[in-house]
Amino acid sequence: MTAAVSPRASTLVGKIRHGDRALATLSAAAVVVILAMLAIIVLDVVRGGARTISWEFVSSPPRDGMTAGGVFPAIFGTVAMTLLMTVAAVPAGVATAIYLTEYASMQSPVARLVRVCVANLAGVPSIVFGLFGLGFFISTVGRGIDRFAYGGQSVYGKPCLLWSSLTLAILTLPVVVVATEEAIRSVPREQREASLALGATRLQTIFRVILPEALGGILTGTILAVSRGAGEVAPILFTGVAYYLPQLPTNLNDPFMSLGYHVYVLATQSPDVEKTKPLLYGTALVLLVLTFLLNLIAIWIRSRSRRRARAGV
């Protein structure tokens, strides 16, 4: 049978080989196109922004009706907003992950509900978070604080840094939960048992054995959350961001500028697009560099801690 392959059989083999290669080539082409999409967008923003970027651009405020000067207040606002967001989102996210992995059993209906809600929270459109921030934080919580503590004066019942950050914290909560949960699950069971066997309490085991071991994952989640939060615009549109402010925000109830919103406004509401284009590219580049650096660091930490987990160190 092997000696004489009939011509028909050999064309069949040829056809099959052909089909086999076609699928491999097509699917590889899809990968290439996606990588090209990433490369094109990055290269275009880098090329367009490189001419604008200078020390002055990142360190000075805008001038001449947003056609000259820099974006320092927007960088400051973005950083302040994401820091506040992190302070709120990370402890809550880590606590949720600890609950899901260490306290709740797999069958617990509460834990399952928490899981469903975390997954669905990640899918809520960002503009809905904006509506929520306005309806809940500003109209309800903020106005409530004003009524009771400030005699009806508008102190917290208005768009500001605090409400934007808290809105973003809820939006990024799932990112922290998912990354932390994965990290905690990859801590070997033996370490838990050893700690408990040595007489440690459950909480001591969590704080002294499990969390230090899962630190890489928690850090990854935090960085990804920061990167996500720094780039979001829709949730802060109505909850605190402003187009131009002469002063930097100093209080929680001050409005602030942000890089993403700056790009949005310059791109959609500028009377003279050609004149603002260099500024627009520069701002987009600063935002992209910020989020990309954070993402790359997160990817690096995660791959390192995964490799270590695989090696069993």
């Binding site: 089909g19 699928l23 899809a30 990433l38 949720t96 309806g135 720094a230 954070l294």
Partner: protein, 333 residues
């Protein structure tokens, strides 16, 4: 990963009741308080979902109950053709002498842009997922996966800006579209945002197919391509379908890309070469300028509420499909 904790749980009943009680009692009151607060904080995500529903709903409620609002618009009239003479019966024109609230142009706009984005994103993402899970060497996989994650990390406002200055010009030169900013430009831009999610869910689904399926197919003389097309893809089918569903949910809720690149004219029109206005872009553009508590304000919250419910249902369905498939394939993690 999940296996480890399941083993722990299965061994739990082996512990006697008194033993486990003593383990729980070991900590003091301070410890109990901290544990309690961890449990309480864990409920935050449930609270968040409920609060979103309640507070978005609360601001939209006057649309159903207030007679002041009803003089201008009712929930039913959002969907009914307009009766006034002049202009189309399907017009979204909330800021005019006689405010016109008909949501069909917005729904059509959202669906149009979303479908365009799926047409571009689905073949690319599924193709890439097939390559990464079935053909790529580990080294290649370790480069491609983070790169696609990086694409997910591009802020949507930057994608929107790119669509505005680069894609829009390219699309108009290539297809000669009527409007420079249109559903096609926004849809292509949107595909940048949904490729990562469709890719990662599809790739997870393909990798959840046990190796024994592939080995059996290959052992029976199938080629790699036959194995992929007739065994692996059908087995992973529900997961891949779920990735479309989740991609749809992500696309219909995306705001910044469409608000910058779609042109924002509320036309009831199937032509993707013409300008489109989505539900999300409408909220983003109009809420900043409305009077709090006005009929327009309530309508915008109602739109947000509908969007929330729609994406919630879509995501829930997507998640259920993924879970169902995993359970059937016996790969839980």
């Amino acid at each position: 990963m999940r296996m480890a904790s399941q083993v722990t749980m299965q061994s739990a009943p082996a512990r006697t009741a008194s033993e486990s009680r003593s383990l729980r009692r070991r900590g003091g009151w301070g410890e109990r308080a901290i544990e309690l607060s961890i449990r309480a904080v864990a409920l935050l995500s449930i609270a968040a979902i409920l609060l979103i529903l309640v507070f978005v709903g609360k601001e939209a409620l006057p649309l159903l109950t207030s007679s002041d609002v009803h003089r201008e618009v009712t929930f039913g009239s959002l969907f009914a053709p307009l009766k006034e003479a002049g202009g189309s019966a399907y017009t979204w024109q909330p800021v005019s002498e006689v405010p016109k609230y008909n949501v069909w142009p917005l729904i059509v706009g959202s669906v149009k842009v979303t479908l365009v984005s799926l047409v571009f994103a689905v073949p690319l993402s599924v193709g890439a997922a097939v390559y990464v899970s079935e053909y790529a060497r580990p080294r290649v996989r370790e480069i491609v996966k983070p790169a696609i994650e990086l694409l997910a990390g591009v802020p949507s406002v930057v994608v929107g800006f790119f669509a505005l200055v680069v894609l829009a010009t390219w699309v108009q030169d290539t297809f000669g579209t009527e409007h420079r900013l249109n559903a096609l430009v926004a849809g292509i831009g949107l595909s940048f945002a949904i490729v990562p999610i469709i890719f990662s869910v599809s790739e997870d689904a393909l990798r959840a197919v046990p190796g024994s399926y592939r080995e059996a197919a290959l052992a029976m003389g199938s080629t790699r391509a036959q194995t992929v097309l007739r065994v692996v893809l059908p087995a992973a089918g529900p997961g891949i379908a779920a990735s479309f569903v989740l991609g749809f949910g992500r696309a219909i809720g995306e705001t910044m890309i469409v608000v910058i690149a779609s042109g924002n004219a509320a036309l009831l029109d199937a032509n993707i070469g013409r300008s489109a206005r989505t539900i999300t872009a409408t909220i983003a553009q109009e809420l900043g300028e409305v009077v709090v508590g006005s009929a327009h304000y309530d309508v915008l919250f109602a739109l947000g509420g509908m969007l929330f419910v729609a994406t919630f249902v879509v995501n829930f369905v997507g998640e259920r499909i993924v879970h169902g498939m995993r359970r059937r394939l016996g790969t839980t993690s």
